[in-house]
Symmetry: C2
Subunit: 334 residues, 2 copies
């Protein structure tokens, strides 16, 4: 791997051009099988030739000869006579997820890359495509919590600290936003202290619902599935899921609040239970929407969606979950 292509592997949303190497084993159409065999034998340095690429004038790719076809042909036949004319090719601009989908279906060892005029401009190994997607996906789980794609168990402590710490500081600033929202409702909490106990419940559930939507959106972005499905349809799905999940989780949480408030004499248990249920449904719907929109928006602005999404998302979901519960309680009970 050249340094350039190694860098490209790290970039999100690369193309076939990033992994392309110089063409080799390129012969003209009138080359005979005997000459081609001679060429394969004499190649220096010895490279494993899997396919011979047959080009015409100005380097246009005319066809591909597999080693096996060369073996089965008579020595006097030309490349033109035995080549496969409808060879599967990539263009340099093919996006990585699309290329990986094709590679998983074709499973060739090596793919020719041609430009719009059909000129052979490079070759790309199948394993490079798989290595690329494995690298991308392996980074995703860690990136979502500020762990660098490069960090391993063996990374020195101070280096790991420098990689992880900035993310925690940014997250702290966003946590202050949530703290500020909670602080706005100090009077409500002082009078109905049961609400304080339910702060982590609301924050936790809306955060989880948002992260589920985020995980699906990130996975689909990496695997290139969003090309076929509209954002509107994805949003509709997460809104319905948020409503369903919020309702059934909210029912249990509301029951818990009812029992808690009945015992502690903190306020009207039925209204408090209703506050929890409504807040949970609203927060889960909003979190599902944010889980889809945050990574899509970040990618539009060129940021790494896996890394940055969770910071923004948890801020939104914390404020939404806790803010909605406290605002509803303040409106209905104060």
């Amino acid at each position: 791997a050249t340094p350039d292509s190694a860098d490209a592997i790290q970039s999100v949303g690369g193309t076939v051009a990033d992994l392309m190497i110089e063409p080799f084993a390129v012969l003209s159409a009138d080359t005979t099988v005997a000459m081609a065999l001679d060429y394969v034998v004499k190649m220096h340095p010895v490279t494993t030739v899997t396919y011979i690429y047959v080009t015409g004038e100005s380097g246009k790719l005319l066809g591909v000869v597999a080693m096996r076809d060369l073996l089965l042909a008579r020595p006097g036949q030309t490349m033109e006579e035995i080549m496969e004319r409808e060879a599967f090719v990539f263009t340099p601009a093919v996006k990585m997820p699309e290329a990986i989908a094709a590679a998983l279906a074709k499973r060739h060892r090596l793919y020719p890359v041609v430009d719009d005029a059909g000129i052979l401009v490079g070759l790309v190994y199948g394993w490079r495509l798989f290595e690329y997607v494995a690298t991308e996906l392996s980074g995703q789980a860690g990136s979502m919590v500020g762990v660098d794609r490069e960090e391993r168990v063996s990374t020195p402590i101070f280096k790991a600290f420098l990689m992880r710490h900035p993310w925690l500081q940014v997250n702290l600033l966003t946590a202050f936003a949530a703290a500020f929202v909670v602080g706005m409702f100090e009077d409500t909490i002082t009078r109905i202290v049961a609400l304080a106990a339910f702060l982590p419940v609301l924050a936790g559930q809306s955060g989880n619902t948002g992260c589920q939507a985020l995980a699906i959106t990130l996975r689909s972005m990496t695997l290139g599935e969003l090309a076929n499905i509209s954002v509107g349809k994805l949003l509709r799905k997460e809104i319905i899921l948020g409503a369903l999940n919020g309702f059934f989780v909210g029912l249990i949480a509301a029951l818990a609040m009812y029992l808690y408030a009945s015992m502690s004499d903190a306020g009207d248990p039925i209204i408090l239970a209703a506050v929890i249920l409504i807040a949970m449904i609203g927060a889960c719907i909003g979190s599902g929407i944010f889980g889809v929109l945050v990574p899509l928006t970040l990618r539009r602005f060129g940021a790494d969606p896996a890394m940055a999404s969770s910071i923004f998302l948890t801020t939104f979901t914390d404020i939404l979950g806790m803010g909605l519960m406290l605002a509803l309680a303040t409106t209905l009970l104060m």
Copy 2:
């Protein structure tokens, strides 16, 4: 892929045996090049033969002949004369991460698999190994928040609901544990309501620190790196990182509490700031330890570490972060 091998791809910690197919293109040592070429031509159904496997009595693998070597040999030579005797082989028990590391170094299209006696028992395609690790790693980010490895943007809503909802309900139960801890300190919160605003800050930071340690531990488990590093060394690293991260994040949070308490006249600002700093350091150290121990313990009991870890981990970190802050404040200020 047979149903059996497809299931095996889903399992964590599979072996080469799970991806193995029946051997083909197996010839005896005295087969001539002419006979081998004839065999390659006549194979039905036509399979792309990349290597010929040369076996002796009782199926012992003697060597491998690449298509290219067949091409360069004289028709009268035997397989024994032209075969590579030191061929790279797997045994069926080789663990997946080890096999993938080897495949990334060797980059062969197909690998022979032999048993302890050297008998050729199967073949494994290189792309199957890469497909396996990509599937494993792609599942990790989603599994950490209860999103099934199989779920895609195109998964029907009701099916997605059934897959995601149980995870949210289990998480709700664990959130109640955190709520219960907060509820135990109701009196403290009623008197120092500033603490309520800092509940999401403590929960958020300890959760993030724990998830960073979890992400590194999961990544290393998948890539097979934990074989070379002791758990003690890993714990030591995360304890030091937790202390460093907790200290520097805690300083900022303590400053914020000092300013907040000074303005709101909620209690001694210096003691409250000290409470935040000490709680943050303690919670981040504890979260780092849990981030390592939870996935290792779950794997020992046969559970999917990516899926189950985050539920246990966030419960621990919530209770640790918020409980430590409230307990310290109660001890020092009440």
